[in-house]
Amino acid sequence: MSQRIFITGFGAITSIGENVDENFQSLVEARCGIGKADVLETVHRDMPVCEIKLHDRELLELAKAPGGKGFTRTATLGLIAVKEAIRSAELSRQEIHDSAFISATSTGGIREFEKYFYQLQENTGPGPWSQFRDTANPGDHAERIADELGIKKYVGTVSTACSSAANAIMMGAQMIKHQQVDRVICGGTEALSKFTLNGFNSLFILDKEHCKPFDEKRKGLNLGEGAAYLILESEQVVNRSRRKPVAELKGYGNANDAFHQTASSPEGTGAWKAMLEALQSAHLDPVHVGYINAHGTATENNDLSEGLAIQKIFGDDVPHFSSTKPYTGHTLAAAGSIEAVFSILALRHQVVFPNLNFGQPMKELTISPVTGILRNAKIEYVLSNSFGFGGNTSSLLLGSAA
């Protein structure tokens, strides 16, 4: 069964843009979303984050979501991006109804859960917390989005930390290949929260300044928030609907590092395996990859293991690579789909986005990322990496739609 999987629509909201076009403009104009936490109420206001500068009620308006109905910030961001993806593919009501929806999040409604932690457990009477009664459940946001849009075929959620959205996209592709469904809306969403900010802080992997992926002096990551979704369709469905795809999902790979709960193996075994599998699944020689959108969180550990894995696969012929996390921050579960969207933009506009803040090459690597924007880059294939806690490593291979 070699079903081709096409991407016929996409949507994204991050700290650098409320939709795909705005994100693209920011990427080419080197405009980052880094700043202080203004919307999230936290004592760590000195910690740089890539926050979407819209309050929850403003996001609800942007999403045209019903207020007071349990739409957490995570669910609302997701709804905004899904709606854009649906609009871009011009799906009909029936097509939406018959689509599967696979979303990803690592925290679900934790932001609202931490805000109303005591009231939700103790208060029986109604209050502003009542609508968030069961929104901590990570699968809840997906059902809410599905119900709002009338999606009925299947609703599911993946949670594998920072590789979540990539895995959601993979499962979507699998369901199409095995003819379970004609179309899948898949991706991920994540809002900033005290839970994640403090959690990563307790692991000493946040940078107190703007992050520097692949730099010898890198000190850690900056957290971000956002959402992005792709519409995947089989070749037959695309031919029937005569939609013009924006890209093709050529291959994918998933492996586990099996090393440590929160650290990657020094040699990058999982990263290497995932990238290799993505290439092999497409029967593609590494030499054809024009750009790697790296996971590149700027932690000491990730960038070393990812860099070594890239060198191992590509040898002397490493393609252009960069991490776009200085732009958006690390959006955790949503990173895999936000960066898939960025990879599609790279293909469509033949552009390689720069790895900002890079100054000094890592002593363990012979390679360095791209530092200025590259136009007319002649890219046919892009590899997009997402690696997470629990050793979960995933890699998506995207190609032009032609």
């Binding site: 760590h44 939700l120 457990q121 103790e122 949670s159």
Partner: protein, 357 residues
């Protein structure tokens, strides 16, 4: 695509019943008086080294032990991938980290609870325990989580029959979740004895928990418990839609309702959720042995894994546990198939069809 069967070649289940010993089948039903059912656990030291055990949360201990039991049952065959599923994950660790965070005003926080609160923590732990670097993912799709994990494994086995998957689920009867969701009517308002759950229809069910792992391959072995023929999920269907889908499900598997030997009913004791499934049982499966299971394990997002264990046990041992029986039909010469119809929250409906291995 050709319909193939896949085989359950290893099982490891820890639940509120005595289930971690694969040599016996519900020897003595465990009784709970207070609406909450907690696992009957083995001595974890028989599975996990002390230096690792000391740090693990209760649910990670239960999950890892169930996975190890399953691998031992599969005669230590190495899986090529690990697919896990959960509803609420490690909410206990989440709550502990949040409590510290709120009480200490976001200062001096320890990392262990945060690290162990990620939904895929068990999948990562099992992978590192057995050094499995293959496919690994975790589904958190509420009442579909376990079936999605199964579906993922079956699709991959269809592509490559040389693979083997460890497919598991885990959920905990967590105190925070109980405190929050009991106020939304999820659980019986009055303390309820689990074995009397279905005697008095009322709103709410029991809070349950459990971990269940299954070793799934494309080939039979001496360890085979049963085969998995098919699985389907339906999101928020109406009664007619669900009923038609069920008949169609049986039809594509070359069965009619009369051919079903065992019907496992996923009623939870919550009168607001059980109506459709009970009517399906009454309408189509009066000639089948009808079993229920949520009085034994409680209600939780991945409870259908307990049903799979029960169905697999019935088929392997050719025995029906009296405590699970709903009806009385003439004894069948042999039990050839099991149909599980489950629901979660009256919205997530799933079918699993098993056959004798």
């Amino acid at each position: 695509m050709e319909k193939k069967s896949y085989f359950v070649n290893g099982v490891g289940v820890i639940s509120p019943q005595y289930t971690f010993d694969n040599t016996v089948f519900l020897p003595q039903p465990q009784e709970y008086e207070n609406t909450i059912l907690k696992c009957v656990v083995p001595d974890f030291k028989a599975y996990i080294q002390p230096v690792q055990l000391r740090r693990l949360s209760r649910l990670l201990r239960i999950g890892l032990s169930a996975a190890i039991t399953c691998l031992r049952d599969a005669k230590d065959e190495a899986p090529t991938g690990i697919i896990t599923s959960t509803g609420y994950g490690f909410l206990d660790d989440t709550a502990k980290f949040l409590t510290e965070l709120l009480q200490q005003d976001e200062k001096q926080l320890t990392p262990t609870h945060f690290m162990q609160s990620t939904y895929n923590a068990l999948g990562g732990l099992v992978a590192s325990h057995i050094q499995c670097t293959g496919y690994n993912t975790t589904y958190v799709s509420k009442g579909f989580a376990f079936e999605t994990a199964l579906c993922d494994a079956l699709m991959r086995l269809n592509e490559d029959a040389s693979q083997h998957f460890l497919v598991g689920s885990y959920d905990e009867a967590d105190a925070t979740q109980f405190a929050v969701n009991s106020k939304a009517g999820y659980y019986r308002a009055e303390p309820t004895n689990n074995l009397k759950l279905f005697e008095r229809p009322a709103a709410g069910s029991l809070q349950g928990e459990g971990a269940a792992f299954f070793f799934i391959s494309a080939h039979k072995t001496e360890q085979t418990w049963c085969s998995i023929k098919d699985t389907r999920m339906m999101y928020a269907p109406g009664e007619e839609e669900l009923t038609s889908a069920l008949i169609d499900f049986l039809l594509v598997n070359l069965l009619s309702a009369e051919d079903v030997d065992i019907f496992i009913n996923g009623a939870s004791g919550d009168v607001d959720h059980d109506g459709i499934i009970n009517r399906i049982g009454e309408r189509f499966f009066t000639k089948s042995e009808q079993l229920r299971f949520k009085h034994l394990c409680g209600e939780y997002c991945t409870a259908s894994s307990f049903a799979l264990w029960m169905g697999a046990s019935v088929l392997k041992k050719q025995q029906i546990p009296g405590i699970a029986r709903m009806n009385c039909v003439p004894e069948k010469a042999s039990l050839k198939n099991v149909l599980i119809v489950n629901q979660y929250g009256g919205r997530d409906y799933t079918f699993i069809l098993l056959e004798r291995g």
